[in-house]
């Protein structure tokens, strides 16, 4: 049960905070209760290392003749690294909350705990079946929390679209299992037949917004710093973990070059927009897109550990940046440690990011290196950008807690480069990472000298319809046209002549059957 200890601590904390909010909203120690819960959950993650790998099998679904899969969780090195990142995210959110406007936000904290608990189960999932269940739980939680937190009903369209895309990703993972079964293999993360791996990758890419290129996370709640950060990063982590489970040999497919091209496009787009947006929060969807694309690219190159490296860096480097809400010069400089985290230089957490398990896709390397340099440059730019608030007049304990909340994820980022999981302590492909770092240095030098207008980024919806939007509008028109045809056919069958049409169809089916026509 140790494997679920962290989960239960998070759930209990969520329940405690919710009960306090409902029964005694003025309770003075609400934050302390939440912070203790987050701290215990964070500490409990380290206990996994003592007995790893841990496996927990839930009661089997019955009848067992129909359900061969059983929900199973396993805490191995990859799950530990992702679990640590998520627990750190929760603790950092709580620690930095003391300096945020609107303190205390009990329901937002409860949401953070709940989401992180679901995210933790996702990173622990030991097979696609379990992951499908956890993903759906996460999607429903996210849908309800977002619908509740958005006041304008029009904004809900984005939330529904994101939910639909996420569940579609789950559907693609289910399809991967079916493809595997049709080939005679019951799929788990150890046995992924060639061909099914591509669908797993598509499932993850769809949830991350890479295939097809879109921004599933563009809708934002009013609580953008704390709860918003948790929402986005937990959601991304739950999708990214699948990439780390795809065996290198299972993604060989004729589609691989096309997918690499699409991923490169997403990485470049995400990187460029991340660099050029006017604030870190507006750029957050592009951070997720760019880093997610690098993780997908690693998986496509047969390097699942590398994809986990990018995924963990996405969370641990993103957490302090997006939680920074007040001005503090020393902390700003400390944030630059996050840039080290995504540099892929030797012994950094992403050092394994540029390794390759296959010889596929060398031609795409320059694009991915450029994308990484854009992401690093953007990170440094956003880290050094002035913030609105100030810690100057805050009590000392607020300053200390807030600083701890920013420094903790950076420490964990550095730690994950050295210890605790299969991607730690690697030299990696240092020439590639060195080029990326030099390029980003060059970009940072050139950037202030260029007078480029900032792109128009709206956190709800792009102001101008892009070509991509036109493509989606075209698809919507096609959908409407098919809908009209279907409705016309339906009216025909339900109209006065419907019975005659029914008889005609019956005769057609009878003749098909009598001539030996078969079902699919």
């Amino acid at each position: 049960m140790l494997i679920l200890l962290t989960f239960f601590l998070l759930v209990l904390s969520a329940a405690a905070v919710t009960i306090i909010r409902l029964m005694q909203p003025e309770f003075r120690f609400a934050w302390l209760t939440a912070a203790i819960g987050a701290l215990l959950a964070w500490i409990s993650i380290f206990f996994w290392q003592l007995v790893a790998p841990l496996t927990l099998r839930l009661p089997a679904w019955k009848p067992e003749t129909l359900f061969a899969s059983t929900p199973t969780f396993m805490a191995d090195g990859i799950a530990w690294a992702y679990g640590l990142a998520l627990a750190t995210l929760v603790l950092a959110t709580l620690l930095t909350a003391v300096a945020r406007a609107g303190f205390p936000q009990l329901l937002a904290w409860a949401g953070t705990f709940g989401l992180s608990a679901a995210g933790l189960l996702a990173v622990l999932a030991n097979d696609p079946f379990t992951l499908i269940l956890v993903w759906t739980a996460l999607d429903f939680t996210e849908l309800i929390l977002q619908l509740r937190s958005l006041d304008e009903p029009q904004s809900n369209r984005q939330v529904v679209t994101a939910f639909a895309v996420h569940v579609a990703g789950t559907g693609v993972l289910m399809w991967a299992s079916m493809v595997s079964l049709a080939g005679g293999t019951r799929m788990d993360f150890e046995n992924v037949p060639s061909g099914a791996g591509v669908y797993m990758l598509l499932a993850s890419g769809l949830r991350l917004g890479i295939f097809p290129l879109h921004l599933p996370f563009s809708a934002e709640s009013g609580l953008r710093r704390g709860f918003g950060t948790s929402l986005r990063l937990v959601s991304a982590a739950s999708s990214l973990v699948l990439l780390a489970r795809i065996p290198a040999g299972s993604i060989s497919s004729p589609l691989t070059p096309l997918l690499l091209a699409l991923t490169a496009l997403a990485a470049l787009y995400g990187g460029w927009m991340w660099l050029t947006t006017n604030s870190d929060l507006n750029g957050r969807p592009y951070w997720l897109l760019g880093m997610g694309a690098l993780a997908v690219a690693s998986a496509l190159r047969g390097n699942p550990v590398g994809s986990a490296a990018w995924g963990i860096a996405l969370i641990l480097a993103g957490t302090p940046l997006f939680l920074t809400s007040v001005q503090h010069s020393r902390l700003k400089k400390t944030l630059l440690a996050g840039a080290w985290g995504i540099s892929a230089l030797p012994f950094s957490p992403t050092a394994s990011g540029w390794q390759s398990g296959t010889a596929t896709g060398w031609g795409f390397w320059p694009f991915f290196i450029i994308a990484q340099s854009l992401l690093i440059a953007g990170y440094v730019r956003h880290a050094l950008r002035p913030s609105k608030g100030s810690l100057q007049y805050q009590p000392i304990f607020v300053k200390s807690l807030y600083s701890a909340g920013i420094i903790l994820p950076l420490l964990m980022l550095l730690l994950s480069g050295l210890w605790g999981w299969p991607g730690a302590l690697r030299l990696g492909n240092w020439p590639a990472s060195l080029i990326a770092v030099l390029l980003s240095g060059g970009l940072l030098w050139v950037w202030p000298r260029l007078k480029l207008p900032a792109p128009r980024v709206h956190w709800m919806r792009p102001s101008d319809p892009t070509r991509l939007n036109k493509l989606y509008q075209g698809l919507a028109t096609l959908y409407a046209a098919i809908g009209s045809a279907v409705r016309a056919f339906s009216m025909l069958l339900e109209g006065d002549g419907g019975i005659l049409w029914t008889l005609i169809f019956l005769i057609i089916f009878a003749s098909i059957l009598s001539t030996g026509g078969a079902a699919p």
Binding site: L66, F67, V160, A164, M178, E494, P520
Partner: protein
């Protein structure tokens, strides 16, 4: 004491008494509790076995002679009795919240009894007559008071009635097949007639056109009740045929026909639902796909029959939750068109949530009641052929799209509205319980395993 009298005769008498109760709330409560009591009795009391309580010994016999025919409810029928009366009881308890208790409860009790009778009668061909009586009894409750019958109701009664002569005639021919099994022409003729009869009875495409029409005409809750109990009975009746006639069971053509019908229903239902703009018609198309899934499960052979039974309970809960939500929403708007229901989720979050959860469940979204049977079915189809898995997935995709469109319509509106709970307390409780049960059945399908395990005992050769 006699089992058919307790579970067929007594409920018919109770239905008459219930029709005399004028207070809707009381009618729903009494009807619900009585039906649940009948289910509990079936669960606790053995049939054809002596039950001793202190000095009193009771034996409930299984056979009742009626006009030269037999009604038999043996020990193997207990799971059917529990499911039929247990679920009917829950439907009746929700009837007041849906505003149809006086119409549904008495007639519903009689319909349940008649359909239990359909499964108990020997020779089993006479089941067709019981089903027909139940259909005729359901017609008046589908018509709104003081209004003429809509085209949907008329077509429903006509198509269901057309099934009877085909099935009875097929039964007459089947008797001939039994005496001369080598007569292949006679076997083919009887199979064709039987197929047509079941095509009408189960509303197999293109004979399903009455369903969306009826959904528009009838109160959603009553439509839902009938869409649960009638196809379920017809499917068990159909299983009886397959179980009884070895030549039918062993025919190479039967799985093909069932598969074709199943895919037609699933894919056309899914496609139609994906483009539909009215909530009650989406319900009808989804119901068509549910029957399609059951036919696909039947096509997989005796060892996968349990999937058919696995579909029954989620179908009932899904329909109950969905139609209760729909009834509440229908009272607030002029029509159930997407344009008319915009933003309603903000005022009726539980009713809207119930509709959506049931819709997602029917489209096989994980964690919900509809997922385990669909996953098992998809799994089994994929093992046969990837093409079948593809068509199955396509049907579910259509339903999922319809659910997403419903979600969009319910949560998006031009006007700024704050979240509020406008459902009354009984509605909140029932909807809340319903939604929780849909999640529980999706997460722990083994909960219904003890019931499922005993279903195949009704059949000699479909043990699974």
């Amino acid at each position: 004491m006699n089992a058919p009298l307790i579970w067929i005769g007594l409920p018919i008498a109770l239905a008459i008494i219930l029709s005399l109760i004028s207070r809707p709330r009381l009618s729903a409560r009494v009807g619900g509790i009585l039906a649940l009591a009948l289910a509990a009795l079936a669960w606790l009391v053995p049939i054809d076995d002596v039950l001793s309580i202190g000095a009193i010994s009771i034996k409930i016999t299984s056979v009742f002679q009626f006009l030269g025919r037999q009604l038999v409810l043996g020990a193997s029928s207990r799971s059917i009795l529990i499911v039929f009366y247990g679920l009917s009881g829950l439907w009746f308890l929700g009837a007041h919240a849906a505003g149809v208790s006086r119409r549904l409860v008495p007639a519903g009790m009689a319909i349940t009894a008649l359909l239990v009778g359909a499964l108990a009668v020997k020779p089993f061909l006479y089941a067709a007559l019981f089903i027909e009586t139940a259909v005729l009894l359901s017609a008046p409750i589908l018509i709104p008071p003081r209004q003429p019958a809509g085209r949907g109701v008329i077509r429903f009664v006509a198509y269901q009635t057309l099934a009877m002569p085909f099935i009875l005639f097929a039964g007459w021919l089947l008797a001939g097949v039994e005496t001369s099994p080598s007569d292949l022409i006679l076997a083919k003729q009887s199979a064709a007639l039987l197929g047509l009869g079941f095509a009408f009875l189960l509303a197999i495409f293109p004979l399903s056109t009455w369903m969306p029409m009826l959904a528009e005409d009838a109160p959603p809750y009553i439509f839902g009740f009938l869409q649960w109990i009638l196809p379920t009975t017809s499917l068990i009746f159909g299983l009886g045929f397959i179980d009884r006639y070895a030549w039918l069971r062993q025919s190479d053509l039967l799985p093909q026909v069932l598969r074709m019908a199943g895919f037609l229903m699933l894919v056309t239902g899914g496609l139609w639902a994906a483009f539909e703009k009215r909530l009650e018609r989406i319900l009808a198309y989804t119901s068509i796909t549910e029957t399609g899934c059951a036919l696909l499960a039947l096509s997989l052979g005796a060892d996968k029959t349990q999937i058919v039974f696995l579909l029954f309970i989620p179908r009932s809960f899904g329909l109950a939750v969905w139609t209760l939500g729909l009834s509440i929403v229908k009272d607030q708007v002029k029509s159930l068109d997407f344009a008319a229901i915009q933003g309603l989720a903000r005022r009726y979050p539980l009713a809207s949530g119930a509709i959506l959860v049931a819709q997602f469940s029917a489209s096989g979204v994980p964690l919900l009641a509809g997922f385990p049977p669909r996953y098992a079915l998809w799994d089994a189809l994929a093992q046969i052929s990837p093409n079948m898995a593809f068509w199955f997935g396509l049907g579910l995709l259509g339903l999922f799209l319809s659910a997403i469109r419903s979600l969009t319509a319910l949560v998006i509106s031009e006007k700024l509205t704050y979240w509020q709970l406008q459902e009354d307390w009984p509605q909140r409780i029932l909807l809340g319980i319903g939604i929780v049960v849909l999640f529980l059945l999706g997460l722990l399908p083994q909960m219904i395993y003890p019931l499922l395990n005993t279903f195949p005992l009704m059949f000699e050769h479909l043990g699974g």
